[in-house]
């Protein structure tokens, strides 16, 4: 089922909506958001210069750093009293990035997620268990309101307590699961350990997975444990843009449809900022054209992907983005948590016993990601307890910063590879 008629508009109609909303948004931010006005004035650009969609590329980019620099509300286009909700990114270095929603923004968000849930096969018949962490993170509440809007019954079970999750699924007859792919696999494992076969004993037939990349291998693995007939789709979003609901996969599995009446996507060369032609791989840049609270223009997502514009077999005309194949910065996603090597580096540099070189290794152990950090011990000791204390302290500090448990591997000086150019600190073995 297709939730909204907008999803099947012709390209011309989509572009008409986009242009009029873009003009309106640019006018508004120029008037109300000082950092935008400054950026535009610097390059001598006036809102009236935006006459066609092609002119979008004249506008300056906005980055996560701009959001940090204007923390917390500097890029907001409405007065605080117009806001009805605040969320913050899972970003863990220093201050988070803060996002805010007006009443209309929440309606927009709900609409966008409703469409994506429908694309994945959800309907009012479903009992939807949301196994995303509720809180400042946008994932849970985003899916919550979207699914509730289409009439599904929400089980807001959040994360953790996996046995209880399985019990709810069994007792309530959960038919739709919202989780990260790795948690979906973990839940099946827990069910098995309770003597429950998810394929036979549970009725979960739809999986809306997100917040983590759904690789083909993960999808195959999910089918293996949850059943071949499970409809598994991934969806994409980020709090800066709105939360989940920017794009979602339909059952044709040929990319994620971007809600183009609310967002204009572009693909750029991350090094030069130049806009790339259709079908080429580059960094996704998104402009919000119907947001009131935080209408980011040309936001650099840092995700590397491609866009396809030919209409989909499902009947939707909105363009599709490929599952992101990487990042233009070196961010890692581990168990749903954003990890920047610089965060780990900061911790390592705070220990006099360690050299400045390190290597981050991510592996998949069972269904969970495992993070190890190799460091060089430059100051030895004569006692094991010193070494144990040292590794425990490093682990504790990293846990404080990232919220993730890591394994510390001590090495002799000069063991780790040195780099002349940009250091390659990350070894990601998960999809190997």
């Amino acid at each position: 089922m297709i939730w909204s008629k907008e999803e099947t508009l012709s390209r011309r109609e989509i572009e008409e909506i986009q242009l009029s909303r873009l003009k309106e948004t640019v006018n508004r931010v120029y008037e109300k958001v000082l950092p935008y006005k400054k950026k535009m004035d610097e390059i001598g650009l006036k809102p009236d210069d935006i006459k066609s969609l092609k002119d979008l590329s004249k506008l300056p980019f906005i980055t996560k750093q701009d959001m940090r620099d204007t923390y917390p509300f500097g890029l907001f286009a409405v007065d605080k009293k117009e806001l009805v909700r605040i969320h913050a990114s899972s970003g863990t270095t220093g201050k988070p990035t803060v996002v805010g929603y007006t009443k209309n923004d929440l309606k927009t968000w709900t609409e966008c997620v409703s469409r994506i849930a429908c694309m994945g096969g959800a309907s009012k018949e479903d009992i939807a268990q949301i196994c995303f962490g509720y809180g400042m993170f946008t994932g849970a509440l985003g899916l919550h309101y979207g699914l509730e809007n289409i009439g599904a019954t929400i089980v807001p079970s959040s994360t953790g307590n996996s046995e209880k999750q399985i019990m709810y699924m069994q007792d309530f007859g959960t038919s739709l699961l919202v989780a990260t792919p790795s948690y979906a696999l973990r839940l099946a494992e827990v069910a098995n350990s309770m003597g429950i076969d998810p394929k036979k004993d549970l009725s979960v037939k739809i999986g809306l997975v997100g917040s983590e990349l759904l690789t083909d291998a993960m999808r195959a693995e999910m089918h293996k444990v949850w059943g071949d007939d499970m409809k598994i789709t991934s969806n994409y979003g980020m709090s800066e843009l709105m939360g989940p609901g920017v794009s979602g996969e339909c059952l044709e599995h040929c990319g994620m449809h971007i809600n183009e009446d609310y967002f204009i996507p572009e693909i750029i060369n991350p090094a030069t900022g130049e806009v790339l032609p259709e079908g080429e791989k580059g960094e996704l840049v998104v402009t919000c054209i119907k947001k009131e609270g935080l209408p980011l223009i040309r936001y650099r997502t840092k995700d590397i992907t491609r866009l396809f514009y030919e209409p989909c077999k499902c009947g939707r005309t909105f363009c599709r983005m490929e599952n992101p194949s990487g990042r233009s910065d070196d961010m890692l996603k581990v168990r749903g948590v954003n990890v920047f090597p610089s965060q780990i580096e900061e911790v390592i540099l705070s220990f006099a016993e360690l050299g400045p070189h390190y290597e981050i290794i991510v592996e998949r152990e069972g269904y969970s990601d495992k993070l190890s950090v190799r460091v060089e011990l430059v100051k030895s000791t004569d006692s094991f307890s010193d070494l144990e204390k040292l590794t425990a302290n490093i682990r504790y500090k990293i846990k404080t910063v990232l919220g993730l448990d890591v394994k510390i591997i001590l090495e002799s000086p000069n063991t780790l590879k040195r780099f002349e150019g940009k250091a390659k600190r990350i070894i990601d073995l998960r999809n190997k």
């Binding site: 011990l377 030895s380 000791t381 004569d382 001590l410 002799s412 000086p413 063991t415």
Partner: protein
């Protein structure tokens, strides 16, 4: 009287200990005693050599993490119960031993290398009780 013990951090990797010993051989450094302990991840080699300063420098230059520590090399009679007598003396004076390993047996005398938590106090108590120490020069 303290002696210098050299500790070397060694990852649990094939051939690492051999590399350490190779460096010592190249520089004509003799090992008088050693203790090698390991966990699943790494090991610590503690050695008493005839030239600890040079050994440290050469091993550091070869990319090993090293440390010099003051330890006591204690002469004890080569007979049953002598080590226990020594430990009782330390225990009665509230001194904890961090680690200890045997050094050599020479005629009627044996010796052990000992690192105490309170090294200065250990040295004082042992000296007061007439215990003899060895240095790396006169082993």
């Amino acid at each position: 009287m303290f002696s210098k013990q050299l500790s070397v951090f060694i990852e649990n990797r094939k051939g690492r200990l051999g590399e350490v010993l190779g460096v010592l051989k190249e520089n004509d450094i003799n090992i008088l005693s050693l203790s090698l302990a390991d966990t699943t991840e790494y090991g610590l080699l503690r050695i008493i050599t005839d030239n600890p300063e040079t050994a440290k420098k050469k091993l550091s230059d070869s990319g090993f993490s090293t440390m010099l520590t003051d330890v006591l090399i204690i002469k004890i009679p080569h007979e049953s119960g002598s080590l226990q007598t020594l430990l009782t003396l330390l225990t009665e004076n509230g001194i904890n031993i961090e680690y200890m390993y045997g050094l050599s047996v020479n005629g009627e005398k044996a010796s052990v290398v000992l690192k105490a938590e309170d090294a200065l106090k250990a040295e004082r108590i042992l000296t007061e009780n007439g215990v003899e120490f060895l240095s790396t020069d006169n082993i």
